[in-house]
Amino acid sequence: MISPIPPPAGHAAPSRGRLAGTGNGPAFSVIDIGHPRYMAVIEPDTAFWVLVRREKLAETLHGDRLLKAYRRKSRQFAEEIHHLRFGLKPSAVYFNPTGRCNLNCTYCYIPEDVRRGGPHMSPEKLIQALGLLKAYFRTTLAKDELPQIVFHGAEPLLNREAVWAGIARYRHDFRFGIQTNATLLDDAAIEFLRAHDVSIGISLDAAAPAVADRTRRTWEGHGVYGQVVEALERLKGYPAWSVIATLSTENLRHLNPLVDFLHGHEVPTCLINILRCTLPRSREVKPDDVQAAKYFIRALQRTHELYRASGRKLIVGNFANILLAIAAPTARVLMCDISPCGGGRCFFAVAPDGDMFPCSEFIGLDRFRGGNLFRDDIPAVLETEPFKLVTGRKVEDIVPCNRCAIRHFCGSPCPAEAHEMNGSMHCTGAFCEFYEEQVRFAFRLIADGQLDDYLWDGWDRGMRETFRM
Protein backbone atom coordinates (compact mmCIF):
# COMPACT_ATOMS: atom_id res chain seq x y z
CA MET A 1 0.00 0.00 0.00
CA ILE A 2 1.25 3.48 -0.81
CA SER A 3 1.93 5.57 2.27
CA PRO A 4 -0.45 8.49 2.72
CA ILE A 5 1.06 11.92 2.25
CA PRO A 6 2.14 13.03 5.72
CA PRO A 7 0.64 16.38 6.66
CA PRO A 8 3.28 19.09 6.38
CA ALA A 9 4.03 21.16 9.44
CA GLY A 10 1.12 23.42 10.17
CA HIS A 11 -1.61 20.84 9.65
CA ALA A 12 -0.95 17.95 12.00
CA ALA A 13 -2.00 19.13 15.45
CA PRO A 14 -4.09 21.82 17.15
CA SER A 15 -1.21 24.25 17.14
CA ARG A 16 -1.04 27.44 15.17
CA GLY A 17 2.57 26.73 14.22
CA ARG A 18 3.52 30.33 14.73
CA LEU A 19 7.16 29.55 15.45
CA ALA A 20 9.77 27.27 13.98
CA GLY A 21 10.69 24.25 16.03
CA THR A 22 7.63 23.71 18.23
CA GLY A 23 4.11 22.34 17.72
CA ASN A 24 2.98 22.69 14.14
CA GLY A 25 5.86 25.01 13.33
CA PRO A 26 8.32 23.73 10.75
CA ALA A 27 11.24 21.68 12.09
CA PHE A 28 13.97 23.69 10.44
CA SER A 29 17.49 22.27 10.72
CA VAL A 30 20.43 24.62 10.49
CA ILE A 31 23.35 23.13 8.59
CA ASP A 32 26.90 24.41 8.43
CA ILE A 33 27.73 23.93 4.76
CA GLY A 34 31.33 25.06 5.16
CA HIS A 35 30.72 28.33 3.32
CA PRO A 36 32.30 31.50 4.72
CA ARG A 37 29.12 33.54 4.46
CA TYR A 38 26.12 31.22 4.21
CA MET A 39 24.44 28.53 6.30
CA ALA A 40 21.65 26.25 5.08
CA VAL A 41 18.23 26.02 6.69
CA ILE A 42 16.38 22.85 5.70
CA GLU A 43 12.95 21.43 6.44
CA PRO A 44 13.77 17.77 5.81
CA ASP A 45 10.35 16.26 5.04
CA THR A 46 9.60 18.64 2.20
CA ALA A 47 13.25 19.13 1.13
CA PHE A 48 12.53 22.86 1.55
CA TRP A 49 15.76 24.83 1.93
CA VAL A 50 17.16 28.32 1.96
CA LEU A 51 20.70 29.61 2.31
CA VAL A 52 21.03 32.42 4.83
CA ARG A 53 23.88 34.80 5.54
CA ARG A 54 25.44 33.73 8.80
CA GLU A 55 24.87 37.04 10.55
CA LYS A 56 21.20 37.06 9.52
CA LEU A 57 20.44 33.54 10.71
CA ALA A 58 18.60 34.20 13.97
CA GLU A 59 16.61 37.05 12.47
CA THR A 60 15.64 34.94 9.44
CA LEU A 61 14.77 31.80 11.39
CA HIS A 62 12.38 33.58 13.65
CA GLY A 63 11.13 36.28 11.35
CA ASP A 64 7.94 36.25 9.32
CA ARG A 65 9.44 36.05 5.86
CA LEU A 66 10.83 32.51 6.04
CA LEU A 67 7.85 31.11 7.90
CA LYS A 68 5.44 32.62 5.42
CA ALA A 69 7.43 31.31 2.48
CA TYR A 70 7.50 27.84 4.00
CA ARG A 71 3.77 27.84 4.77
CA ARG A 72 3.02 28.94 1.23
CA LYS A 73 4.97 26.08 -0.30
CA SER A 74 4.99 23.25 2.23
CA ARG A 75 1.99 21.31 0.96
CA GLN A 76 3.08 21.52 -2.67
CA PHE A 77 6.61 20.40 -1.81
CA ALA A 78 5.37 17.60 0.44
CA GLU A 79 3.22 16.29 -2.42
CA GLU A 80 6.12 16.56 -4.84
CA ILE A 81 8.45 14.57 -2.61
CA HIS A 82 5.75 12.04 -1.85
CA HIS A 83 5.09 11.46 -5.54
CA LEU A 84 8.81 10.97 -6.21
CA ARG A 85 9.07 8.51 -3.34
CA PHE A 86 5.88 6.54 -3.77
CA GLY A 87 4.04 7.55 -6.93
CA LEU A 88 6.31 6.56 -9.82
CA LYS A 89 5.83 3.46 -11.93
CA PRO A 90 8.50 1.31 -13.56
CA SER A 91 9.89 2.70 -16.77
CA ALA A 92 13.22 0.89 -17.15
CA VAL A 93 14.71 -2.58 -17.04
CA TYR A 94 18.31 -3.55 -16.43
CA PHE A 95 18.61 -6.58 -18.61
CA ASN A 96 21.45 -9.07 -18.26
CA PRO A 97 21.53 -11.08 -21.51
CA THR A 98 24.33 -13.24 -20.16
CA GLY A 99 25.71 -14.22 -16.78
CA ARG A 100 29.23 -14.45 -18.14
CA CYS A 101 32.01 -11.92 -18.14
CA ASN A 102 35.47 -11.96 -19.67
CA LEU A 103 36.74 -9.85 -16.74
CA ASN A 104 37.09 -10.55 -13.05
CA CYS A 105 36.84 -7.06 -11.51
CA THR A 106 37.46 -6.76 -7.79
CA TYR A 107 34.17 -5.12 -6.91
CA CYS A 108 31.71 -6.91 -9.18
CA TYR A 109 28.38 -7.69 -7.52
CA ILE A 110 27.75 -10.78 -9.64
CA PRO A 111 29.08 -13.98 -8.05
CA GLU A 112 32.22 -15.45 -9.57
CA ASP A 113 30.70 -18.81 -10.52
CA VAL A 114 28.00 -17.03 -12.54
CA ARG A 115 30.51 -14.82 -14.33
CA ARG A 116 32.67 -17.84 -15.19
CA GLY A 117 29.97 -20.10 -16.58
CA GLY A 118 26.54 -18.54 -16.31
CA PRO A 119 23.88 -18.87 -19.00
CA HIS A 120 23.40 -16.90 -22.20
CA MET A 121 19.86 -15.94 -23.10
CA SER A 122 19.09 -17.14 -26.64
CA PRO A 123 18.05 -14.60 -29.30
CA GLU A 124 14.58 -16.17 -29.38
CA LYS A 125 14.15 -15.89 -25.62
CA LEU A 126 15.49 -12.34 -25.57
CA ILE A 127 13.00 -11.30 -28.24
CA GLN A 128 10.24 -13.03 -26.28
CA ALA A 129 11.35 -11.21 -23.11
CA LEU A 130 11.31 -7.80 -24.80
CA GLY A 131 7.84 -8.57 -26.16
CA LEU A 132 6.59 -9.29 -22.64
CA LEU A 133 8.17 -6.10 -21.34
CA LYS A 134 6.72 -4.04 -24.18
CA ALA A 135 3.23 -5.32 -23.35
CA TYR A 136 3.77 -4.57 -19.66
CA PHE A 137 4.99 -1.02 -20.21
CA ARG A 138 1.94 -0.29 -22.35
CA THR A 139 0.00 -0.58 -19.11
CA THR A 140 2.27 1.69 -17.04
CA LEU A 141 3.49 4.47 -19.33
CA ALA A 142 1.80 7.13 -21.39
CA LYS A 143 1.68 6.53 -25.15
CA ASP A 144 4.34 9.15 -25.83
CA GLU A 145 6.80 7.69 -23.30
CA LEU A 146 9.30 5.05 -24.34
CA PRO A 147 10.53 2.63 -21.68
CA GLN A 148 14.25 2.05 -21.32
CA ILE A 149 16.12 -1.21 -21.68
CA VAL A 150 19.72 -1.18 -20.51
CA PHE A 151 21.76 -4.24 -21.41
CA HIS A 152 23.96 -4.71 -18.45
CA GLY A 153 26.31 -7.23 -17.04
CA ALA A 154 28.27 -9.35 -16.59
CA GLU A 155 29.41 -8.41 -20.13
CA PRO A 156 26.44 -8.08 -22.50
CA LEU A 157 28.58 -8.07 -25.65
CA LEU A 158 29.53 -11.70 -24.97
CA ASN A 159 25.99 -12.38 -26.17
CA ARG A 160 26.06 -9.94 -29.03
CA GLU A 161 23.88 -12.01 -31.36
CA ALA A 162 20.92 -11.96 -28.97
CA VAL A 163 21.37 -8.29 -28.01
CA TRP A 164 21.55 -7.21 -31.64
CA ALA A 165 18.47 -9.25 -32.49
CA GLY A 166 16.51 -7.59 -29.69
CA ILE A 167 17.57 -4.07 -30.58
CA ALA A 168 16.84 -4.57 -34.28
CA ARG A 169 13.40 -6.00 -33.56
CA TYR A 170 12.28 -3.46 -30.96
CA ARG A 171 14.20 -0.32 -31.88
CA HIS A 172 11.02 1.77 -32.06
CA ASP A 173 9.56 0.42 -28.81
CA PHE A 174 12.33 1.12 -26.32
CA ARG A 175 15.20 3.50 -25.69
CA PHE A 176 18.15 1.16 -25.58
CA GLY A 177 21.42 1.47 -23.72
CA ILE A 178 24.33 -0.83 -23.10
CA GLN A 179 26.90 -0.83 -20.33
CA THR A 180 30.06 -2.62 -21.41
CA ASN A 181 33.64 -3.13 -20.32
CA ALA A 182 34.54 -2.10 -23.90
CA THR A 183 36.85 -5.04 -24.57
CA LEU A 184 34.52 -6.28 -27.32
CA LEU A 185 33.46 -2.87 -28.56
CA ASP A 186 34.96 -3.13 -32.03
CA ASP A 187 34.20 -1.01 -35.08
CA ALA A 188 31.31 -3.22 -36.16
CA ALA A 189 29.73 -3.03 -32.70
CA ILE A 190 30.02 0.74 -32.55
CA GLU A 191 28.60 1.07 -36.05
CA PHE A 192 25.57 -1.04 -35.10
CA LEU A 193 24.97 0.78 -31.84
CA ARG A 194 25.29 4.23 -33.42
CA ALA A 195 23.00 3.24 -36.28
CA HIS A 196 20.36 2.19 -33.75
CA ASP A 197 20.76 5.23 -31.46
CA VAL A 198 21.88 3.07 -28.57
CA SER A 199 23.36 4.90 -25.61
CA ILE A 200 26.75 3.45 -24.66
CA GLY A 201 28.33 3.35 -21.22
CA ILE A 202 31.85 2.08 -20.77
CA SER A 203 33.86 1.37 -17.64
CA LEU A 204 37.25 2.85 -16.82
CA ASP A 205 38.69 3.55 -13.37
CA ALA A 206 41.81 5.60 -14.04
CA ALA A 207 43.80 7.48 -16.65
CA ALA A 208 46.92 5.37 -16.18
CA PRO A 209 47.08 1.63 -16.89
CA ALA A 210 49.01 0.94 -13.70
CA VAL A 211 46.03 2.21 -11.70
CA ALA A 212 43.12 1.26 -13.96
CA ASP A 213 44.29 -2.33 -14.22
CA ARG A 214 44.37 -2.85 -10.45
CA THR A 215 40.64 -3.46 -10.29
CA ARG A 216 39.60 -4.31 -13.84
CA ARG A 217 41.39 -7.40 -15.12
CA THR A 218 40.83 -10.58 -17.10
CA TRP A 219 40.55 -13.94 -15.37
CA GLU A 220 44.23 -14.41 -16.17
CA GLY A 221 45.06 -11.16 -14.39
CA HIS A 222 45.79 -9.00 -17.43
CA GLY A 223 44.66 -5.37 -17.52
CA VAL A 224 42.35 -4.12 -20.28
CA TYR A 225 43.18 -0.42 -20.15
CA GLY A 226 44.53 -0.36 -23.71
CA GLN A 227 41.38 -1.83 -25.19
CA VAL A 228 39.17 0.59 -23.32
CA VAL A 229 41.16 3.60 -24.50
CA GLU A 230 40.91 2.40 -28.10
CA ALA A 231 37.13 2.30 -27.67
CA LEU A 232 37.17 5.81 -26.20
CA GLU A 233 38.93 7.05 -29.30
CA ARG A 234 36.34 5.41 -31.53
CA LEU A 235 33.46 6.96 -29.62
CA LYS A 236 34.71 10.53 -29.84
CA GLY A 237 31.99 12.74 -31.31
CA TYR A 238 29.13 10.39 -30.45
CA PRO A 239 26.80 12.36 -28.19
CA ALA A 240 25.17 9.44 -26.41
CA TRP A 241 27.96 7.87 -24.45
CA SER A 242 29.37 8.03 -20.96
CA VAL A 243 32.11 6.55 -18.81
CA ILE A 244 31.64 5.01 -15.39
CA ALA A 245 34.49 4.94 -12.91
CA THR A 246 34.17 3.08 -9.63
CA LEU A 247 35.76 4.87 -6.72
CA SER A 248 37.80 2.53 -4.50
CA THR A 249 41.01 2.54 -2.48
CA GLU A 250 42.80 1.68 -5.72
CA ASN A 251 42.02 4.88 -7.66
CA LEU A 252 41.05 7.31 -4.90
CA ARG A 253 44.14 9.46 -5.26
CA HIS A 254 44.04 9.39 -9.04
CA LEU A 255 40.69 11.00 -9.77
CA ASN A 256 41.98 14.34 -11.00
CA PRO A 257 44.12 12.79 -13.76
CA LEU A 258 41.08 10.71 -14.69
CA VAL A 259 38.97 13.85 -14.99
CA ASP A 260 41.63 15.47 -17.18
CA PHE A 261 41.79 12.35 -19.32
CA LEU A 262 38.03 12.08 -19.80
CA HIS A 263 37.70 15.77 -20.57
CA GLY A 264 40.55 15.48 -23.05
CA HIS A 265 38.75 12.62 -24.76
CA GLU A 266 35.58 14.73 -25.02
CA VAL A 267 33.55 12.40 -22.85
CA PRO A 268 30.24 14.24 -22.40
CA THR A 269 29.23 12.66 -19.10
CA CYS A 270 30.82 10.40 -16.56
CA LEU A 271 29.76 8.76 -13.35
CA ILE A 272 32.27 8.49 -10.54
CA ASN A 273 30.41 6.05 -8.36
CA ILE A 274 31.63 5.01 -4.98
CA LEU A 275 31.87 1.25 -4.98
CA ARG A 276 29.06 -0.84 -3.59
CA CYS A 277 30.06 -3.15 -0.77
CA THR A 278 27.32 -5.70 -1.40
CA LEU A 279 29.64 -8.68 -1.84
CA PRO A 280 32.49 -9.31 0.65
CA ARG A 281 35.23 -9.16 -1.99
CA SER A 282 34.45 -5.56 -2.87
CA ARG A 283 34.89 -4.51 0.77
CA GLU A 284 38.61 -5.23 0.40
CA VAL A 285 38.89 -2.03 -1.63
CA LYS A 286 36.37 0.06 0.32
CA PRO A 287 37.70 3.60 0.73
CA ASP A 288 37.39 5.59 3.92
CA ASP A 289 34.32 7.85 3.87
CA VAL A 290 36.20 11.08 4.60
CA GLN A 291 39.00 10.37 2.14
CA ALA A 292 36.52 9.41 -0.55
CA ALA A 293 34.65 12.69 -0.09
CA LYS A 294 37.86 14.73 -0.13
CA TYR A 295 39.18 13.31 -3.39
CA PHE A 296 35.77 13.18 -5.05
CA ILE A 297 35.15 16.86 -4.35
CA ARG A 298 38.60 17.73 -5.64
CA ALA A 299 37.72 15.91 -8.85
CA LEU A 300 34.48 17.88 -9.12
CA GLN A 301 36.41 21.11 -8.67
CA ARG A 302 38.81 19.98 -11.38
CA THR A 303 35.91 19.53 -13.82
CA HIS A 304 35.00 23.13 -13.07
CA GLU A 305 38.52 24.38 -13.71
CA LEU A 306 38.50 22.57 -17.05
CA TYR A 307 35.15 24.07 -17.92
CA ARG A 308 36.33 27.57 -17.08
CA ALA A 309 39.44 27.09 -19.18
CA SER A 310 37.86 25.40 -22.19
CA GLY A 311 34.16 26.28 -22.18
CA ARG A 312 33.38 22.56 -22.40
CA LYS A 313 31.83 20.64 -19.53
CA LEU A 314 32.50 17.17 -18.26
CA ILE A 315 29.37 16.42 -16.26
CA VAL A 316 29.73 14.08 -13.31
CA GLY A 317 26.29 12.57 -13.49
CA ASN A 318 25.99 11.17 -9.98
CA PHE A 319 26.90 14.53 -8.45
CA ALA A 320 24.64 16.35 -10.91
CA ASN A 321 21.87 14.19 -9.55
CA ILE A 322 22.55 15.44 -6.00
CA LEU A 323 22.37 19.01 -7.29
CA LEU A 324 19.07 18.24 -8.95
CA ALA A 325 17.76 16.64 -5.75
CA ILE A 326 18.27 20.03 -4.13
CA ALA A 327 17.39 22.46 -6.91
CA ALA A 328 14.78 20.52 -8.88
CA PRO A 329 13.86 17.28 -7.10
CA THR A 330 11.52 16.03 -9.80
CA ALA A 331 14.28 16.32 -12.43
CA ARG A 332 16.56 13.76 -10.81
CA VAL A 333 17.50 10.98 -13.16
CA LEU A 334 19.27 8.43 -10.99
CA MET A 335 17.15 6.81 -8.34
CA CYS A 336 19.73 5.38 -5.94
CA ASP A 337 19.86 8.50 -3.79
CA ILE A 338 16.23 8.67 -2.86
CA SER A 339 14.27 6.62 -0.38
CA PRO A 340 12.79 4.20 -1.20
CA CYS A 341 15.35 3.79 -3.97
CA GLY A 342 14.21 3.12 -7.51
CA GLY A 343 14.83 -0.63 -7.25
CA GLY A 344 11.62 -2.57 -7.79
CA ARG A 345 9.49 0.54 -8.26
CA CYS A 346 11.07 2.70 -11.01
CA PHE A 347 13.04 -0.14 -12.58
CA PHE A 348 13.85 -3.79 -12.06
CA ALA A 349 16.47 -6.23 -13.29
CA VAL A 350 16.13 -9.32 -15.45
CA ALA A 351 18.74 -12.08 -15.27
CA PRO A 352 19.68 -14.26 -18.27
CA ASP A 353 17.27 -17.02 -17.21
CA GLY A 354 14.43 -14.50 -16.91
CA ASP A 355 14.58 -14.25 -13.12
CA MET A 356 13.52 -10.85 -11.84
CA PHE A 357 15.23 -8.85 -9.10
CA PRO A 358 14.51 -5.35 -7.75
CA CYS A 359 17.87 -4.13 -9.05
CA SER A 360 21.04 -5.49 -10.67
CA GLU A 361 22.73 -5.18 -7.31
CA PHE A 362 20.56 -8.08 -6.06
CA ILE A 363 21.36 -10.47 -8.89
CA GLY A 364 23.27 -13.20 -7.14
CA LEU A 365 21.29 -12.83 -3.92
CA ASP A 366 18.71 -15.56 -4.42
CA ARG A 367 16.57 -14.39 -1.54
CA PHE A 368 15.69 -11.29 -3.57
CA ARG A 369 14.42 -13.17 -6.62
CA GLY A 370 10.81 -12.06 -7.01
CA GLY A 371 9.77 -14.27 -9.90
CA ASN A 372 10.48 -15.05 -13.52
CA LEU A 373 9.64 -12.93 -16.53
CA PHE A 374 8.64 -15.95 -18.64
CA ARG A 375 6.47 -17.61 -16.02
CA ASP A 376 5.05 -14.92 -13.78
CA ASP A 377 2.89 -11.85 -14.09
CA ILE A 378 5.10 -8.74 -13.83
CA PRO A 379 2.77 -6.68 -11.59
CA ALA A 380 2.49 -9.70 -9.25
CA VAL A 381 6.29 -10.00 -9.07
CA LEU A 382 6.52 -6.33 -8.07
CA GLU A 383 4.29 -7.13 -5.10
CA THR A 384 6.31 -10.09 -3.83
CA GLU A 385 8.06 -10.05 -0.48
CA PRO A 386 11.59 -9.73 -1.95
CA PHE A 387 10.54 -6.66 -3.91
CA LYS A 388 8.60 -5.22 -0.99
CA LEU A 389 11.66 -5.50 1.21
CA VAL A 390 13.40 -3.07 -1.12
CA THR A 391 10.52 -0.80 -2.03
CA GLY A 392 9.56 -0.57 1.64
CA ARG A 393 12.98 0.58 2.83
CA LYS A 394 12.52 4.18 3.97
CA VAL A 395 14.81 6.70 5.63
CA GLU A 396 12.16 7.17 8.32
CA ASP A 397 12.98 3.64 9.54
CA ILE A 398 16.76 4.02 9.54
CA VAL A 399 18.92 5.55 12.28
CA PRO A 400 20.36 8.18 11.95
CA CYS A 401 18.63 8.98 8.64
CA ASN A 402 15.30 9.49 10.42
CA ARG A 403 16.72 12.61 12.05
CA CYS A 404 19.06 13.70 9.25
CA ALA A 405 18.28 17.00 7.52
CA ILE A 406 19.53 15.81 4.13
CA ARG A 407 17.70 12.48 4.08
CA HIS A 408 15.86 13.33 0.87
CA PHE A 409 19.03 14.49 -0.89
CA CYS A 410 20.95 11.31 -0.04
CA GLY A 411 18.33 8.58 0.33
CA SER A 412 20.62 6.33 2.39
CA PRO A 413 21.84 4.04 -0.40
CA CYS A 414 21.97 1.17 -0.96
CA PRO A 415 19.55 -1.50 0.27
CA ALA A 416 21.56 -4.41 -1.12
CA GLU A 417 24.68 -3.09 0.57
CA ALA A 418 22.88 -2.36 3.85
CA HIS A 419 21.36 -5.82 3.93
CA GLU A 420 24.47 -7.76 3.00
CA MET A 421 27.13 -5.70 4.75
CA ASN A 422 25.30 -4.34 7.78
CA GLY A 423 22.69 -7.04 8.26
CA SER A 424 19.36 -5.28 7.79
CA MET A 425 17.30 -3.09 5.51
CA HIS A 426 17.00 -0.76 8.49
CA CYS A 427 20.72 -0.06 8.52
CA THR A 428 22.59 2.51 6.48
CA GLY A 429 24.77 1.39 3.61
CA ALA A 430 28.57 1.52 3.67
CA PHE A 431 28.95 5.29 3.39
CA CYS A 432 27.47 8.35 5.06
CA GLU A 433 29.97 11.22 5.26
CA PHE A 434 30.61 10.79 1.55
CA TYR A 435 27.03 11.90 0.92
CA GLU A 436 27.02 14.53 3.68
CA GLU A 437 30.04 16.22 2.14
CA GLN A 438 28.57 16.12 -1.36
CA VAL A 439 25.43 17.86 -0.18
CA ARG A 440 27.45 20.50 1.66
CA PHE A 441 29.55 21.06 -1.44
CA ALA A 442 26.41 21.30 -3.57
CA PHE A 443 25.02 24.01 -1.30
CA ARG A 444 28.31 25.91 -1.44
CA LEU A 445 28.10 25.91 -5.23
CA ILE A 446 24.57 27.24 -5.08
CA ALA A 447 25.67 29.95 -2.64
CA ASP A 448 28.39 30.95 -5.10
CA GLY A 449 26.06 30.96 -8.10
CA GLN A 450 27.76 27.97 -9.78
CA LEU A 451 24.84 25.57 -10.01
CA ASP A 452 24.59 25.76 -13.81
CA ASP A 453 28.29 25.10 -14.25
CA TYR A 454 27.93 21.55 -12.91
CA LEU A 455 24.81 20.61 -14.86
CA TRP A 456 24.10 19.93 -18.50
CA ASP A 457 23.48 22.98 -20.68
CA GLY A 458 19.75 23.56 -20.82
CA TRP A 459 19.15 21.34 -17.79
CA ASP A 460 16.13 23.42 -16.76
CA ARG A 461 14.56 23.73 -20.19
CA GLY A 462 10.83 23.13 -19.90
CA MET A 463 10.83 23.40 -16.11
CA ARG A 464 8.86 25.90 -14.10
CA GLU A 465 10.20 27.81 -11.15
CA THR A 466 8.26 26.94 -8.02
CA PHE A 467 10.18 28.91 -5.42
CA ARG A 468 12.74 31.69 -5.21
CA MET A 469 13.93 33.95 -2.41
Binding site: H152, I244, T330, R332, G449
Partner: protein, 40 residues
Amino acid sequence: MKKAVKKEKEKDVVACRKSCKAKGTGLSHYILMDRKAKKS
Protein backbone atom coordinates in the same frame (compact mmCIF):
# COMPACT_ATOMS: atom_id res chain seq x y z
CA MET B 1 33.66 30.40 -26.92
CA LYS B 2 34.01 30.50 -23.17
CA LYS B 3 30.64 30.91 -21.55
CA ALA B 4 30.28 33.68 -19.02
CA VAL B 5 29.84 32.29 -15.53
CA LYS B 6 26.58 33.35 -13.97
CA LYS B 7 26.83 34.64 -10.45
CA GLU B 8 23.95 35.44 -8.17
CA LYS B 9 24.11 38.87 -6.61
CA GLU B 10 24.94 38.21 -2.99
CA LYS B 11 21.74 38.33 -0.97
CA ASP B 12 20.75 37.73 2.65
CA VAL B 13 18.72 34.70 1.65
CA VAL B 14 19.22 32.50 -1.41
CA ALA B 15 16.73 29.86 -2.49
CA CYS B 16 15.45 28.45 -5.77
CA ARG B 17 13.49 25.38 -6.73
CA LYS B 18 12.22 24.17 -10.07
CA SER B 19 9.84 21.45 -11.06
CA CYS B 20 8.99 19.24 -14.00
CA LYS B 21 7.27 15.94 -14.65
CA ALA B 22 9.16 13.30 -12.67
CA LYS B 23 10.72 10.56 -14.79
CA GLY B 24 13.46 9.22 -12.52
CA THR B 25 14.34 5.82 -13.79
CA GLY B 26 18.00 5.04 -13.47
CA LEU B 27 20.26 3.27 -11.06
CA SER B 28 23.75 4.61 -10.59
CA HIS B 29 25.38 1.81 -12.54
CA TYR B 30 24.33 3.48 -15.72
CA ILE B 31 23.06 6.75 -17.07
CA LEU B 32 21.07 6.80 -20.26
CA MET B 33 22.19 9.72 -22.33
CA ASP B 34 19.20 11.58 -23.63
CA ARG B 35 20.67 13.29 -26.59
CA LYS B 36 19.80 11.84 -29.93
CA ALA B 37 22.69 9.97 -31.41
CA LYS B 38 24.20 11.55 -34.50
CA LYS B 39 24.24 9.53 -37.64
CA SER B 40 27.67 9.66 -39.25
